[in-house]
């Protein structure tokens, strides 16, 4: 369990990192918190020729308020910060609520939001939570031949970012630089819960929900995302729609939970078969949506 040989570059700036990623002669991977990549290296499941270490790039580690009152999380913001930063707790309490479910404190103090999203693991908490919040990702690369300027940037809805298990829209020369979380609307409540074999394990199933109620207590917007509910981190658009236009009564929530359980596409593995996962999705959706609706009311 020792990694194969690789070249190591400690990038001092974003441009420096992009330059290293742009060099076509060497297969290069960005090293953020290393919580997934380093085990893959040690198991020799990944063998990049070069690692570009992002840990020295200060500009990627910032948490900022956006003009619209949302949040911009630099790619190198650690999970622990989600748990502890009062600004994050105020602007996006769902992030603060879900962060303690991400692995263990040691991993959270090292692992990064950008790394977790770029890894595109359907079993990870953060992608599902960010999908629920309607987040967007900022992506940068060095200009390719013929393009003007030194850097090219683009923004993508997170929903369009995840293409398959461990497979995202990132090109080899691109770097995920930030995640933008829109401001929360009045009358909105959020919640997260998961069932894992042990505290800190990948969840057998997890659910993040955001529910907005109008002044009469009728749901006018709902978003539900699943952890380990499909081949990618997945937003359950159809199922969430069943709640819109209704009061979140136990019956209505139950119907939404059933819709989630029916339409999700969980994989079977040694820890849970498909039927058990669907059952957990149903149970957790009912619990989480009720809790989110309760928070929306207050």
């Amino acid at each position: 369990m020792k990694p194969p040989p690789f070249e190591y570059v400690a990038a001092a700036s974003l441009d420096g990192a992009l330059e290293a990623l742009a060099e076509p002669s060497l297969e290069t991977r960005a090293l953020a918190g290393g919580q997934s990549l380093v085990p893959m290296l040690n198991f020799r499941l990944a063998a990049p020729e070069r690692l570009v270490d992002l840990n020295g790039i200060e500009e990627l580690a910032r948490v900022e308020e956006t003009e619209s009152g949302g949040l911009r999380l630099g790619a190198m913001v650690r999970h622990l910060r989600l748990e502890r930063d009062p600004l994050i707790a105020r602007r996006a309490p769902l992030l603060a609520e879900a962060a303690p479910f991400i692995a263990h404190p040691q991993i959270r103090s090292r692992g990064t939001v950008g790394g977790s999203v770029a890894h595109a693991d359907p079993a990870a908490e953060l992608p599902a939570v960010l999908l629920t919040l309607g987040a967007r990702v900022r992506i940068a690369r060095r200009s390719r031949g013929g393009e003007s300027g030194s850097r090219v940037e683009r923004t993508l809805d997170l929903e369009d970012f995840f293409l398959g298990p461990f497979f995202s829209a990132l090109e080899p020369d691109e770097l995920l630089t930030a995640i933008e979380v829109p401001p929360s609307a009045p009358g909105e409540g959020t919640a997260f819960d998961e069932v894992a074999r042990r505290r800190g394990d990948y969840a057998l199933a997890g659910v993040a929900a955001r529910v907005r109620l109008d002044s009469r207590g009728v749901c006018d917007e709902a978003a539900i995302s699943l952890v380990n509910g499909g081949a990618t981190p997945c937003l359950m658009r159809e199922a969430a729609r069943t709640l819109v236009g209704a009061e979140p009564t136990p019956e209505a929530v139950g119907a939404t939970a059933a819709a989630c359980a029916e339409t999700c596409e969980p994989a079977a593995d040694m820890h849970a078969n498909e039927a058990y996962r669907r059952h957990l999705v149903r149970t957790l959706t009912a619990r989480v949506v009720s809790r989110a609706a309760g928070r929306a009311r207050t």
Binding site: M1, K2, P3, P4, P5, F43, R44, V195, R197, R198, R199, G200, D201, Y202, L204, M270, H271, A272, N273, A275, Y276, H279, L280, T283, L284
Partner: protein
């Protein structure tokens, strides 16, 4: 801090070894890095069954930094099957086919992880790079994976020279079960499966060998639980005198059974050091550990109990298959433990038990903490629970009606145990233990508690189960105690230590005998240059067998001290007492002489040592018990089950246990806590998952789930002390007891919690993962 009453045995003495362990100064094998050391890695088979047609190591040999690549063809006389470490007991009608592995595969691959080649390089990194360059041409064979079909006539044969995959067959019986069954009011028959997993020590195996050509000596650091037997095997295999080979088992990060085995690496690493003239180091990594280190696994039981309508056991019949893996170097220890431990603390007048051991294409099975006893306890306790349910009795009540009374010892179960001696219980406290656990868990009031609505929708249940554990078996251990002129006391014994607290509990025995502080006793374990007779640390025997050898040696040293002191002080030995590191005249404490001064005068540089005596204050003694002593206990557990998610949380865990004389309650509780943690892992978390091709699907701690500190509740412990009648200290073993009955208690508690929701639900398979409980709940509704 001399204690009132003057006895250290029984006191909560802080551990002598903790300062070194907690400040990172304790030496582990990984810490040993001789100058110029080379590093080894093994190329292992990914396939569980195959024929090695070719092995091309030329690219690996040519890789920069590689010093050698060894294959079976290079081993010469070392290429022979390993020893059978434990022969089968002399039982009538026994079948036993011994099959052991070659150090490196020559042709046939029988389990995943069998070593094909050994690479020695400048670093482990380079060695692993080179391992990827080895090209193995393997013809895959159909693997035998499913234990239930391993003995089928058409199953692929794992050892071609045998007519089937049957490794062994044993039948033991007492009374007449068929007759008992004929007069029973209730007969219940069920199929059970009980699976176990890896030892899971925090430190994997490691071997560092340094051949000193000038001194003509080999020094080996090894994580073994049995340094002396391993030294002897290695010396013989390499053609060296035992005195040329020194094995050191320093601090070892957990043994749990697998490190008692003899492994090929223990001979290949020293051999490579001699051959290359350089120190060679090999540290097993966590991935390798899942294949290259032995483990425990499953048994399939068809068991039956016959009872009267009052719930008295008339008899039990149990027929089971035991998975041995690809080879059977540890004989029949595990299934015989199962067979014997099943009987527990109960009167079972008629018993019929037979088992077959099957070879499979899986890693080798040898004892892991509990060593098959869990399986037996689970079967018996489940049968009692089912019988209680069938008769409308409380589970505690059926146990009360069947436990062996305190006036019935010694109790003879009339079958043979793993130590080749009849299964006899020397002493015990079965009724007291059960009643104490019932009292502590509040069993009498518990049904009402269950009716109390849990605010979170969960339901609670309670389980209470018993066990008896055969511990402290022979053959023997020894100890040498020396009082040094500085007043320090040196104790050397042959057993290795893997966290059991030997440096303290052994010191307490010596301190009591010769009047010193436990912290004055310097304990050396697991170094063959300090003590070279002994077998090892296994079967919950350290405190029993080594402990009583130490006690005997300490008494001999005490006599020598008294004799020398009586002479020096010109008094009668009977007028002396030993305390505070000195011999003193009773009632005249000013008349005293330090032990250090006595040690000096007992080893004079001039003058004469009295004819017929030995110099110094030193004694060596050995202890071998006639047969194993039996510890016992009762576990009670309270669980909360979420019927919607099938998740189970343990709310309370109570252990009432009796290991005879308790040397150090803190250390005993530590053993129990660790054992219960292992048991919780076995009951709910740990499972080795094999795919249809025989590969292990979860060879990492990401998917092989050990319970963590947040999964193990606080454990409430009560000590009962019924001394063993088989040794002077009265000690019994406690290393494994904590782990043995956990799954049985867990199953009873989960069934109890679900009694209203799923009344017919029966838990017959362990581990009980939430996925399995979900299926049971689905089946019941």
């Amino acid at each position: 801090m001399s204690r009132a009453g003057g006895t250290w045995v029984g006191a909560r003495v802080p551990r002598n070894e903790d300062a070194r362990l907690l400040t990172g100064r304790a030496q582990f094998v990984e810490d040993v890095e001789p100058p110029g050391a080379l590093h080894a890695a093994f190329v292992r088979s990914d396939l569980p069954a195959g024929r090695l047609r070719g092995l091309d190591v030329e690219r690996a040999r040519a890789h920069p930094g590689v010093h050698a690549v060894f294959t079976a063809a290079d081993l010469g006389p070392l290429l022979r099957p390993g020893a059978v470490l434990v022969p089968p007991p002399p039982l009538e009608g026994l079948v036993f086919h011994a099959r052991t592995a070659l150090p490196l595969v020559r042709e046939r691959i029988r389990h995943q992880g069998e070593a094909l080649a050994m690479i020695v390089a400048d670093s482990r990194y380079v060695a692993e790079d080179a391992a990827q360059l080895v090209e193995a041409d393997i013809e895959p064979l159909d693997p035998v994976v499913d234990l239930g079909r391993a003995l089928d006539e058409d199953a692929p044969r794992i050892h071609d020279d045998l007519p089937s995959n049957l490794a062994a067959y044993v039948r033991q019986a007492k009374g007449d079960y068929a007759a008992a069954r004929a007069r029973a009011d209730l007969v219940l028959e069920r199929r059970f499966s009980y699976d176990r997993g890896i030892g899971g020590a925090i430190e994997n195996r490691a071997v560092v060998a340094e051949w000193d050509a000038r001194a003509d000596r080999l020094q080996v650091w090894d994580t073994t639980q049995a340094p002396i037997p391993v030294r002897n095997v290695v010396a013989a295999a390499l053609g060296l005198s035992e005195s040329q080979v020194r094995f050191i088992a320093p601090f070892v990060g957990g043994g749990f059974g697998p490190k008692i085995m003899f492994y090929a690496e223990e001979i290949l690493v020293p051999w490579a050091s001699i051959r290359l003239g350089r120190p060679v180091k090999w540290v097993e990594d966590r991935y390798e550990n899942f294949f290259a280190t032995t483990q425990e696994r499953g048994q399939l039981h068809e068991a039956e109990i016959s009872v009267t309508r009052e719930g008295r056991i008339l008899g039990v019949r149990d027929i089971f298959i035991h998975d041995s893996g690809a080879y059977d170097p540890y004989g029949l220890t595990i299934p015989i433990n199962t067979q014997c431990t099943l009987l527990g603390p109960y009167r079972v007048p008629n018993y019929e038990s037979e088992f077959r051991v099957a070879f499979t294409n899986k890693p080798i099975v040898t004892p892991v903490r509990g060593a098959g006893r869990q399986h037996g306890v689970f079967i018996m306790e489940r049968l009692l629970d089912l019988a209680a349910r069938g008769l409308g009795l409380d589970p505690v009540e059926i146990r009360r009606r069947n436990v062996i009374g305190s006036d019935e010892f010694p109790y003879n179960h009339e079958i043979m145990y793993q130590d080749f001696a009849p299964l006899r219980y020397d002493s015990g406290s079965y009724e007291e233990s059960l009643e104490e656990a019932v009292r502590l868990v509040g069993h009498e009031t518990f049904p009402r508690e269950r009716e109390r609505a849990q605010p979170d929708g969960r339901v609670v249940g309670v389980g209470v189960v018993n066990y008896v554990e055969g511990t402290g078996i022979g053959p023997y251990e020894g100890a040498r105690i020396t009082v040094e002129p500085g007043g320090t006391v040196r104790l050397a014994t042959g057993v290795g230590t893997q966290g059991q607290g030997h440096f303290t509990s052994f010191a307490q025995i010596v301190a009591d005998a010769i009047g010193v502080q436990p912290s004055d006793v310097r304990v050396v374990t697991g170094d063959t240059s300090d003590f070279h007779w002994g077998t090892g640390t296994f079967a919950s025997r350290g405190a029993v067998v080594a402990g009583n050898a130490i006690h005997a040696a300490a008494q001999s040293v005490r006599e020598k001290i008294l004799r020398h002191a009586a002479k020096a002080l010109e008094v009668d030995p009977e007028d002396l007492e030993l305390a505070d590191g000195a011999a003193r005249v009773r009632g005249a404490p000013d008349l005293s002489v330090d032990l250090g001064a006595l040690a000096l005068s007992a080893n004079p540089l001039r003058g004469a040592v009295e004819p017929g005596t030995e110099p110094g204050l030193e004694a060596t003694s050995y202890f071998g018990p006639p047969y194993g002593t039996t510890a016992n206990g009762t576990h009670a557990v309270v669980v909360a089950v979420d019927p919607e998610t099938a998740m189970v949380e343990i709310l309370r865990y109570i252990v009432v246990h009796d290991c005879g004389t308790v040397i150090n309650p803190t250390i005993v509780e530590g053993q129990i806590h660790g054992g219960v943690a292992a048991g919780i892992g076995n009951a709910f978390y740990e499972e080795l998952v094999f795919d249809e091709f025989g590969g292990t699907s979860n060879a990492s701690f990401m998917d092989y789930l050990l319970p963590t500190s947040t999964d193990v509740p606080p454990i409430e412990t009560a000590h009962l002390e019924t001394p063993s009648t088989l040794n002077p200290l009265g000690t019994k073993g406690v290393g494994e007891g904590g782990a043995i009955p956990v799954a049985a208690a867990f199953a009873q508690a989960v069934e109890d919690a679900l009694a209203d929701i799923a009344p017919g639900l029966e838990i017959l398979d362990i581990p009980l993962s939430p996925g399995r409980l979900f299926e049971l709940l689905r089946g019941a509704s």
